[in-house]
Symmetry: C2
Subunit: 449 residues, 2 copies
Amino acid sequence: MERLLIESALGRVRAALERGDYDQAVAIIESLRPADQAEVFSELDEEDQETLLPRLSPEDSADILEELDEEEAAELAQTLPPRELSRIVDEMEPDEAADLLGDIPPEQAEAVLASLEDPEEVRPLLVHPDDTAGGLMTSEFLALRRRTTVAEALEAIRRWHPEGHVVDQLFVVDRNGVLRGTVSLRQLIMADPQQRMVDIMDPEVISVPAGTDQEECARLMDRYDLIALPVVDEHHRLLGVITVDDLVDVLQEEVTEDIQRLGGAQPLGGPYLDTRVTRVARSRIGWLLLLFVTETLTGTVLRLFEHELAAVVSLTFFIPLLIGTGGNAGSQTTSTIIRALAIGDIDLGDALRVLWHELRVGLLLGIAMGTIGYIRALAWGTSHAVASAVATALLMIVLWANVVGSTLPLLASKLHIDPAIVSGPFMSTLVDATGLLIYLSVAKLILGI
Amino acid sequence: MERLLIESALGRVRAALERGDYDQAVAIIESLRPADQAEVFSELDEEDQETLLPRLSPEDSADILEELDEEEAAELAQTLPPRELSRIVDEMEPDEAADLLGDIPPEQAEAVLASLEDPEEVRPLLVHPDDTAGGLMTSEFLALRRRTTVAEALEAIRRWHPEGHVVDQLFVVDRNGVLRGTVSLRQLIMADPQQRMVDIMDPEVISVPAGTDQEECARLMDRYDLIALPVVDEHHRLLGVITVDDLVDVLQEEVTEDIQRLGGAQPLGGPYLDTRVTRVARSRIGWLLLLFVTETLTGTVLRLFEHELAAVVSLTFFIPLLIGTGGNAGSQTTSTIIRALAIGDIDLGDALRVLWHELRVGLLLGIAMGTIGYIRALAWGTSHAVASAVATALLMIVLWANVVGSTLPLLASKLHIDPAIVSGPFMSTLVDATGLLIYLSVAKLILGI
């Protein structure tokens, strides 16, 4: 839907730029919503971007820098003189401003900070790592005292002019800044103007320390349907607030990483088509090599059984089939377990129950696949002995793949490694080599070679 | 964090039930937050659940039924007499109520609907498929007319007592119910009491038709940072509103499906440990079989080259290594492309650019892997000829895997199939058979056998 709108805007902006009609180009961009502004902007040439940005209002420039991919925003910001950039950063939401300043050279960031209207809104946010509650939070929130009346609170809202869209929730703190409760705008409207915050606030407010991992913050907000999650220091003093739009971004980011890791690639951390070919290749070569080296184990196993393979060449025909089926069964298990871990369906304490679950699933699947494998092998005209070896190996390999596929993610989680890293191609490779060992040992026993 | 709280509450509830002290058990559950209530409740025996549910207040029962997994909620609801269930459903959010009624037998659902306080709040929601905008929306929203004043709007909010937590956004409609704009609570508070909705509303409101896919709704809400997305009929009349907590649930659901499909399993649609072993096995056997049948292609290819394999047994040693590397390179590509499609980084129009990107990445990776494969083969004491065949095959297979891995998800998307379905194990299996064909053909040519 919005694609057409963007193509059309892009065409008109380009035409205006070609004519040298900058005002027209600016007008077209300013008529769009922030997300669309950023998309149109990011498809322009760098040169055009640098021409246009200083001509846009600081508010629109701020929106665009907020919506652009982090790297693109940082690159663009670096082309601006510090004073110009300060005017834009002044209009950005403090958490986005802090992220941007963290991505440009420290000297430039310092120069920008020095000429901000209110550097104290941004500076404290710079000390927290990006992927923690402190790195996600914004310092734009309204904190009221317990004895504040509803009428005073409404007046405070009217006087407040935050940069970004903020959540409709107020926070109540005591004289030391310690978080005591929250009040929603709806509660304010429903209440008597003379009531005090302490009478209407919800004192059981869920909060997190600044060092909390962003994934844990997202999980809490999702579980308890929160639109805002307050962040506190070690004395439970209110530092900032994570808003629901950050939650969605975190979820998307974590999922992208999980899926790319499941596929055995380092997360790119940027839009696909904008990532250079050499960078994509670099993000993949490490895993590919590591898996290659691990996979050479299969060659070692096969050389161990060189004599048997030379004696019965038909054993070779089933190699890819057997290890492929093992890999598939393992992938099914792994993807289920990783996801159950991610959404909190299971945790480490459930390890034994998970294993027992997968052992039984594996047994059922193994029996089914073994039976079908036996029939298929006979249909190819293979001898009964080889068919029996294939069937027995299939049963054992599927069972084994389910055990490995469920144990690996749990083990990784126990060792505080992202389960997705060790569990995709790594699992397949492990099952390949061990599957071969199972198959050829079984064949050797059954065929007596 | 909340795990400890839940274990403790669960222990105390069980102890109370054992003593026959139902009031105490009820009191413990009522002291928890809805998500925790549901978790404690779902870990109780069915018998205890059926004992407790009628003793809880309808509000708390409603919260629990809303938070429970869909199937569990439906099973539990079916144990209640219709009048009892109606009292609970009355307290549920209309969209959740409609989902529950859709999951229980139609006669029971009808009986419940008949004794609801306001069946017209729920009935219209029953006609929309679960995974569309109509299935997600709630009928609980405040719609005002354009000439309504701010003072009247504030009064309407005070008189309104919705069941669930609703979003802090009002909608403005004309006399035909056609959506004209939206107003936030903050705007109301900021405005003069005598201003009219038409003066303060934002007329450029993003809305979706009721049949819109839930994934598209989630994407729009994410892109434009919406906390509420109005749903309209073909005449643009306001039917309902999708709220931000639904967005998160949809994103989680879609991602779970994607990850399970990437692993080659049908989505379970329920919590892992609560899903019966036979059901898990059923969800996997179909794919496992299909992949098994496809994978027998590898046997066919190997039989074609029986003569060559018998002549040079050392060719066999590299089979798992070569097809494994092809599978890994393909998985890396596929997972990157699927995710780029899902978050809108690329679309079908980019197909050629994607292919060109992956061809170059594949060439780089193929040259690297070929070189390393050559060295590794020589180190194993393999002849120069076989090592050359392995290296050439590696280069071609990695290149080919990148092409297949990027084309398959795009093709699936073009055919309106979820790219995750055809792209995980399916891609590996396809690359296995074709990779073998490449390897053995190259070997035949180079070795002249």
